[in-house]
Amino acid sequence: MASATPTRGIRPRVPGVQRRLGRLERPALRGVLVRELVNYSSFWRSSTFSSTVDPTIYLLAFGFGFGSLVSKVAGYDYIDFVGTGIVATTVLFSGAFPAMYSTFVKYEFQHTYDAILAAPVDVEELVTAEALWISARTGVYGCVPMLVAVAFGLDPSWGMLLVPLIAALAGYGWATFGIFIAARAKSIESFSYWQSGLLTPMFLVAGTFFPLDELPTWAQVLGNVNPLFHCVELVRHSVFGLEGWADIGHLAFLIAFALIAWRMAIHFMEKRLIA
């Protein structure tokens, strides 16, 4: 908050605001978050429904459908395998997609960002706060299908407490990636290319429903650059036992993905919003 301390150098026109404002200020982030929270109070039902019911349906469909054909996958019971992998699917559904659509709608149709940027908020703060909010939601939503899986036989473990954190971290990456897509989009229709060309293949080749080991080498290589794959692995290992360096590698990949997507989102949103 701006304090009432006297000025340093800049002319004392109004008390309280002379302090040179920095980057990523808390009041600015809070302002954007408050807006999201107040809005969320009116649409949390639909948002929660779509973000959790879809993955749960995948979980049950694959769990029962495939589960009746195979009993063990990669050494896991199939419900255990898919019940943990599904967290990443939820992260994608509740991270990237809301970010893409809500960002586009807010700048293109509602002109919300015009209003926010006329207040003391910069694009960097705007993007960061929006992504933090989506990330917090993915942290919660990510656990829902896993809890459903618990009801269907996945054994609870202490490692599950790490899952919301992993989901939130991966969610931050996907949220900023979604904002990046929206910043590049000329129209909302162009999201189809990203969805069909990139996100759907990623969602399938992430080790959620079947392990990557059985795939051809090129597909395994692609799988390894898929952030969802690292999210799946990290969640599975958290629940069934961490694997040391391998998991540090997965974590590092998710952090790097989040950082890069964050900066890309800011860069392209600045290009989009500042003429």
């Binding site: 908050m1 009041p27 807006r35 107040v38 809005n39 209003a115 003391p120 919003l273």
Partner: protein, 296 residues
């Protein structure tokens, strides 16, 4: 006197198009300045540059003593912006809209409730506080938009076409509101293409055309300088109007077509041989003479 806004030699290009072509503008503290111009004259781009939502290619901009774009955030903390396009959150209530912006404008938590009440009073919407924005009329929404920009008691208010698309009666209500703010010492920069609005509210106006300031001064001075004290409005058939136009140009008077008539300006009572209605010149005459464009 200190300036709330000072722009010098500001140029803004969008690719091939030069939206603002070397604009100088000064808004002294506590005054209301009008930016007058037809659509496409560069008014909105100028407004965008003052919040650093557009960055000029050339020139300098200072707002409340802060150099833009570097220190724009400090400037924005002290100013309120009323955009031309309504960007309220339509699914939220009146009060929720104000609450959100009290945070965005960094109103301290202790004063937040008061700030919202004050804004509700300014907007005259205290009774509709729980109404969702999409249930409000156009005039109410515009009042809310203005009140939202005043939550943090800004020292400078930017109004981009504040009354566009509103009924005459609603427009007058808003004029009263803007006039009150000005009397309270808020500096105001207002863009408009309603001449009457500028004439009534602004201490000085800058007339813009094709990204440039073509005239600057108090409305009365501009009228006296460019249109003279009195206009003679001559009615007649198109042929007759053509003849009058020719005659006037021979005598060195300036004319403008006003629908079914021709207004002879700057004749200052010497056009005694012509039949017509005498009327007082207005800012619209100046505007049309200088920009060559009629106002819709």
């Amino acid at each position: 006197m200190a300036s709330a806004i000072r722009m010098q030699g500001v140029v803004k290009r969008f690719g091939e198009l030069t939206a603002v072509a070397g604009l100088d503008l000064d808004v002294p503290d506590g005054t209301c300045i009008g930016l007058l111009g037809p659509n496409g004259a560069g008014k909105s781009t100028t407004m965008k540059m003052l919040t650093a939502q557009a960055i000029p290619n050339e020139g300098t901009i200072e707002v409340l003593g802060f150099a833009l774009p570097g220190d724009s955030k400090q400037a924005r903390a002290l100013m309120g912006v009323v955009p031309q396009l309504d960007n309220l959150d339509v699914s939220l209530t009146v009060e929720q809209n104000l609450l959100v912006f009290s945070h965005l404008y960094r109103v301290p938590s202790a004063g937040r409730k008061d700030a919202i009440e004050r804004a509700l009073t300014i907007a005259n919407l205290a009774e509709r506080r729980t109404a969702k924005v999409d249930q409000l009329s156009g005039g109410m929404r515009r009042r809310l938009l203005i009140a939202r920009a005043l939550l943090h008691k800004p020292r400078l208010l930017l109004l981009d076409e504040p009354t566009v698309g509103l009924d005459p009666q609603v427009r007058q209500e808003l004029w009263a509101l803007i006039d009150r703010l000005r009397s309270e010492g808020v500096s105001i920069l207002m863009s408009t293409h309603y001449i009457e609005e500028a004439e009534r509210l602004c201490d000085r106006v800058t007339i813009m055309s094709h990204g440039r300031a073509v005239a600057e001064g108090a409305p009365r001075e501009l009228i006296a300088e460019h249109a003279g004290t009195e206009a003679l409005e001559v009615y007649g058939s198109p042929t007759r109007l053509g003849e009058v136009e020719l005659l006037a140009s021979q005598r060195g008077w300036r004319t403008r077509r006003t629908g079914t008539s021709i207004s002879i300006l700057h004749s200052n009572g010497s056009a005694t041989d012509l039949d017509g209605e005498r009327r007082i010149t207005n800012l619209e005459d100046v505007f049309v003479l200088l920009t060559g464009e009629e106002i819709s």
